[in-house]
């Protein structure tokens, strides 16, 4: 707490408040708008922020319930939004779990064990993580196309191929976990070794339980990263029932078939759980991100 306070502090606080509220209006505008649009009647309806004649038709569509319009027509849901959400969650959970397993063991070796090429590996990982996966799409496409000819469940249009191709994103996490492991005192593991524990036992029973916070951060970060990933999924997945949410929702907004209201409901329905997870994990994420940020 600063002890020396300027005299006009009161006015400054109010000025800051007004600026903040104006800014928050700008920031929140898209969210409020989309919630409002999801309750409007029809796909081209315009109007005020609070809908004049609210309707649940878009929500019914998104939840897969056939909807009866005022003139008695039954409208069947166009897209399997809930299937997409499930696909997204399935792929994200599997990927995050695999990334967590691989990067934890990797980070343990980089933080604690001594072996040849360690520093070269760390440096090249740093450079490699900068290459965006979008540029390797041609290779991914060709690779899974050919692999699918031999192992069908790893071919194009399968979720397992998608999960595999996301595994390249683990380098950043290795750095994050490695940094955390290094902050834990080696003495704990050394005393375990004196008592006869193998390195695996020391890792499993001493280091892992101590690192639960960073593991949670890595899990949530990769979960969010995968659920929002769009380019790879759009190339590898083709069938409507196989799509993930990120690829699927785009289909609502084609110029020739512009379903703005249905999109709004789908966006709110699917964006909400992800946002809530993020806000709950936010406190840990902020510390994780800044720790990773400072260490580069």
């Amino acid at each position: 707490m600063a002890m020396v306070q300027p005299r006009n502090l009161h006015y400054r606080v109010w000025a800051a408040r007004i600026v903040m509220i104006a800014l928050l209006c700008l920031v929140m505008f898209p969210f409020l708008m989309i919630i409002s649009v999801s309750f409007r009647t029809g796909n081209f309806a315009t109007g005020s922020l609070i809908p004049e004649n609210p309707s649940l038709e878009h929500w019914a569509m998104v939840l897969g319930i056939p909807y009866e319009t005022a003139d008695g027509n039954i409208v069947e849901p166009t897209f399997p939004v809930l299937t997409w959400l499930w696909n997204s969650i399935k792929v994200s959970l599997t990927t995050s779990a695999l990334i967590l397993t691989l990067s934890t063991t990797g980070a343990y070796a980089f933080a604690r064990l001594r072996f040849r090429l360690k520093h070269h590996l760390l440096t090249s990982m740093m450079i490699l993580q900068m290459f965006p996966a979008v540029l390797a799409l041609v290779a991914f496409h060709a690779f899974f196309n050919k692999l699918g000819g031999v192992v069908p469940w790893l071919g194009l249009n399968t979720h397992s191929a998608l999960v595999m191709s996301y595994l390249g994103g683990l380098t950043m996490n290795i750095w994050l976990i490695k940094g955390y492991f290094e902050s834990i005192d080696v003495a704990l593991e050394e005393s375990a070794h004196i008592d006869g524990a193998t390195p695996w036992q020391a890792f499993r029973h001493i280091l892992l339980p101590l690192s639960v916070p960073i593991l949670a951060v890595v899990f949530v970060l990769s979960f969010i990263g995968v659920i929002g990933e769009y380019p790879i999924a759009s190339v590898l997945l083709q069938g409507v029932d196989k799509l993930t949410l990120a690829v699927g929702v785009k289909q609502f907004l084609y110029a020739q078939n512009y379903l703005w209201g249905d999109f709004a409901a789908a966006a709110v329905l699917t964006g909400m759980p992800i946002t809530v997870v993020f806000l709950i994990a936010q406190r840990y994420l902020v510390s994780g991100l800044t720790a990773g940020g400072v260490k580069g």
């Binding site: 600063a2 691989l102 590996l121 690779f143 006869g196 190339v235 991100l289 800044t290």
Partner: protein, 530 residues
């Protein structure tokens, strides 16, 4: 691909690579559990070898070779005591090699070929397609009549030259499946003879039928009225040269263009992929219709990334300062609300903006119309489209900068501000002379990483404008808001499907981004030295 964790749990305790810890006393006891480990490794190796063999049998070289190398290294690491330390690293390295390094190498190798939608197959496969081609031989032509009886069909074929020569097929169903039906010399067919109109309706299904004539020759539908005997068009000679059996003309593969050509030099589709050397790179540097858009897109990519980073950093830093300002009591609520754009998945917010910025029924233009009477053409005017992209990207990107800055600001000692307050400094003085100099060093790597991220911000552009509006007068499609990655993606997957050229552009981007990350690494190191 990856050996499961339990393979490691039975690992022996006596390892050579680990010198900083004492050798466990009970290591010998643990090594007795090696049986299951060997079985598991052998099982995984067998499965992988099977896949490798199948891939190799398909005529692939690069994929099975990479798999074989990785598989052997894996076996060594998990069975040899000297490889103990690598057991922890191998799984994650495997992921990196398979999904970062290998695609990189593969992309690089594609950039020297003409691999693309017109030349997608291998030479072997193209040869097979040509050898499978059938032509009407002309000596056996039969008029067809189709009879229907309770969903069952029968074909009656009459020799065009000798109308006494009539064959009738067995009954079959027309379900669009390829099938072979036998026919005997016979004039009696069951059911009702179908008119030409009905035959037209069944044309596609009839095209799948092969009639086996008395065991002598096989006929397929050659026109709406006729079935005719078919024979292969080509036979193979040495050096992949194919000879037309009926005309005697030969066609040979042209290893420069990747097509079979006849004596007149005419190309016969489909093409196969061939090595073209540096042609794709040459095209990028010399073809005016490609070079000019490529260069302009490069400039816009740099401008976009630089502006995005600057805008996000300025707004993020100012907000972070405000969030640390103690007199602002309710700043906890502001913080949660300000982080929201970062919390909502980007693909959703970008699409929301796409709808809001819609020229005809978007809410933003409606508000602008009402307030100022203007309706900017966000989607068709290049300048407005770029403005829109920067607005949306700033909205998406400032929370990250704010979070990072908040963490870094905590590290600046309060006494500095105390001292400046005694000297009567204004907040602007504080920002310029205390906050910024203290942050500069630790912010540098973050700014560079953010630049690299925005340099390749594919999702934003693809979902918001898809690169549009398009630039006029280019030989491959290029848009005013395209970033290099979007340009590459379109060249590869949307327009033209020229994988070779796209890989060449991708390789160029690899080099640029590699340079940026190298600079980043240097910056990180120098900041850590302090």
């Amino acid at each position: 691909m990856t050996l499961p964790a339990n393979a490691k749990s039975v690992a022996t305790g006596k390892e050579n690579g680990k010198k900083n810890m004492s050798t466990p006393a009970n290591a010998q006891k643990l090594s007795s559990g090696n049986g299951p480990k060997w079985a598991l490794v052998a099982l995984i190796d067998l499965a992988l070898l099977y896949v490798i063999f199948l891939l190799y049998a398909q005529g692939e070289i690069l994929f099975p070779l990479t798999l074989l190398v990785l598989c052997s290294i894996g076996t060594w690491v998990f069975t040899n005591k000297a490889g103990y330390c690598y057991r922890y690293v191998y799984p994650c390295l495997l992921g990196i090699i398979m999904f970062i390094v290998f695609p990189l190498v593969y992309t690089f190798s594609i950039s020297f070929t003409n691999y693309g939608s017109a030349n997608i197959l291998s030479l072997e496969r193209v040869k097979e397609i040509h050898l499978d081609k059938q032509v009407k031989t002309g000596d056996q032509v039969y008029r067809l009549a189709l009879y229907q009886d309770n969903g069952q069909y029968q074909l009656q074929l009459t020799d065009k030259n000798d109308s006494a020569n009539v064959y009738t097929s067995e009954s079959f169903t027309l379900d669009g499946q390829a099938k072979e039906v036998a026919a005997q010399p016979d004039t009696s067919a069951q059911g009702q003879k179908l008119s030409m109109r009905d035959i037209v309706k069944q044309r596609a299904a009839l095209g799948e039928i092969t009639v086996n004539l008395h065991g002598n020759s096989r006929l397929v539908m050659s026109s709406l009225r006729e079935f005719a005997a078919m024979a292969p068009q080509y036979r193979e000679e040495a050096d992949n040269v194919l000879v037309d059996i009926h005309t005697g003309e030969s066609i040979r593969p042209d290893m420069v263009t990747g097509f079979y050509v006849n004596v007149d030099g005419e190309q016969i589709a489909p093409g196969f992929s061939v090595y073209v050397g540096g042609e794709n790179y040459q095209l990028l540097l010399e073809d005016k219709g490609i070079r000019e858009p490529f260069f302009k897109i490069f400039v816009w990519t740099v401008v976009f990334a630089a502006l995005s980073v600057t805008l996000c950093a300025i707004i993020g830093l100012l907000l972070a300062n405000l969030m640390q300002w103690e007199p602002l009591k309710e700043r906890g609520i502001y913080r949660v609300l300000l982080i929201l754009p970062y919390a909502v998945p980007a693909f959703i917010s970008i699409l929301i903006f796409k709808g809001l910025f819609n020229q005809n029924f978007g809410e933003i233009n409606m508000i602008l119309e009402g307030l100022f009477g203007i309706e900017p053409e966000w989607m068709t005017n290049p300048t407005f489209a770029r403005m829109m992209i920067l607005i949306v990207n700033t909205w998406l990107g400032y929370p990250y900068m704010m979070i990072v800055c908040m963490g870094l600001l905590k590290a600046i000692p309060d006494v500095l501000y105390e001292a400046s307050a005694i000297d009567g400094a204004t907040p602007i003085h504080n920002l310029l002379f205390i906050t910024l100099p203290s942050l500069a060093k630790s912010m540098a790597p973050i700014l560079i990483a953010s630049f690299a991220f925005n340099f390749n911000n594919f999702v934003l552009i693809d979902l918001l404008t898809a690169g549009g509006p398009m630039r006029p007068g280019t030989s491959i499609e290029a848009g005013f808001t395209d970033l290099l990655v979007n340009f590459t993606f379109r060249t590869a997957f949307v327009a033209g499907q020229d994988f070779g050229l796209a890989s060449a552009i991708a390789t160029m981007i690899f080099l640029i981004v590699g340079f940026i990350s190298w600079v980043n690494l240097r910056a990180t190191r120098s900041s850590q030295e302090y």
